[in-house]
Amino acid sequence: MTYMTASATHPDRPVLSGRVKAALVLFILFALMPPLASALNDPFYVLIGTRILAYAIAAMALDLILGYGAMVSFGHAAYLGFGAYAVAILQSYGVNDLILQILFAVAISAIFAVVTGAISLRTRGVYFIMITLAFGQMAFFFFISFSAYGGDDGVALAQRSTVLGMDLLGTDYGLYYVSLALLIALFALCHRIVGSRFGRVLTGIRENPTRIEAIGFSPFRYQLIAFVISGCITAIAGVVLANQAQFVSPAFMSWHKSGELIVMVVLGGVGNLAGPIAGAVAALLLEEWLDALSEHWKLYFGIFLVLMVLFSPHGITGLLKKMGIVRGQQ
């Protein structure tokens, strides 16, 4: 016992530092992007960049349950929608404050996630995917018929949100950097959660649920809490997205978007938080540049990836590791 210190570092596993380093590199690149874009005289990239940041938040949130909890939610775009509609709804009542909008978005999402998560978690594997998809579609059709906010046409937003009365998001640059600050803060939050007592139980359930029960944990409540946290963070991405587009519609929450989120997570590498951020960058830049190809190509690619996650989680991660995209943990 004497040869180890109480604060246990893991010689064969430089776990956290790798994840944080990768994220720091990404954050620095994100911070440098706007000045570069304006130097290249292409400020349009700042708006695209904001969209990427929003999806990066959502993909990271999805990774919290997909990568760490082995819960493949195919309905996560619903939370993007809740976030976006929280902005539209509060704005129609004259409430423009970003913080209040985020709180509202998180509240709706928490309720939806508790109810649908509690039901979905009674199933496993493919059935979990199907039922989360079904709940996502339920939310989608609810907003399609929500005529007060434009039904399936959606609704344009009169202005961007303010922060404590300040017009921080007024310029595209302001919006971009506030979004980046949100991404960094939420990464820090997820990073803490993953490394906490709770995170260890969650990861343990992914590793071997029978063992987790055999040492005295009931997996359900841990999975449900992770599911709710993930949904709430995704809703914050939706708030950003509404401000970026200055427009809100049910298209934000279609099942294609849920599929894209999974693609981003798997593309970037599951279970390390930084990977999905890179995955969001890759997927959205690909979408910008390969728009012509996208619709069909992406659908089949998405289904392929879902099957891979289900039947060969190590297969795709292992593949990415070999290609040097994901660092060597898990």
Partner: protein
Amino acid sequence: MTSLTVTNLCKSFGALKVTDDVSLSVEPGELHAIIGPNGAGKTTLISQLSGQLHCDSGSVAIGDRDISRLTMPERVKLGLARSFQITSVLPGFTALENVALAVQAREGSSFRFFGKVADEARLNEAAMTALSEAGLDRRAHVLARSLSHGEHRRLELAIALATQPKILLLDEPLAGVGGGDAEGFVANLQKLKGRFTIVLIEHDMDAVFALADRVSVLVYGSIIATGTPEAVRNDPEVRAAYLGEEEELV
């Protein structure tokens, strides 16, 4: 330390009666071995005691408390821990993390979302103690998936110990452990004897006769004999059941 009482336990898989009216009483602090040929239903019995499987009828009690309807996590909280015949650990965790999580399960809240669990000295120290008792402390920082088979068996034991059980259910802890390694392991088990009520399933007869206070023999789901190792060894029915199969027993 508590007693474990099994009364008229039955379990069938379809037409196959795997547990056939098993009654068993294990005294506080006793090391009770269960032996029997492959397929006799030993693992299935342990699974019903631990709550992983539910029995068709009969009851299981810890002390005076009937636990037949409790889930596996609930039984663990009452001090019932099992190890698995087929290693079932968290492969992506280090040995220390595997055990520290069991410590965490037993003490304090797991609804803590911010503190860094890897730095929690209390968890790590208790985990190291359990690893030492299982003889695995030198390999604490190795990922479970990189451990050898023998080390996996020790990790199974360490995890069970870390839940601070009153009753230990050990399903063939020595399965596949060879020669000198097995001797060391038996010595580790010997040290645990008397501190816990232990149900030990084991194929290694040397280990069984060295460790057990009493032995029960399970054949085709029924207990055909219970007694001291000496009595069981000389029991004619046991000799008949084992004849030709494991002659080294007699």
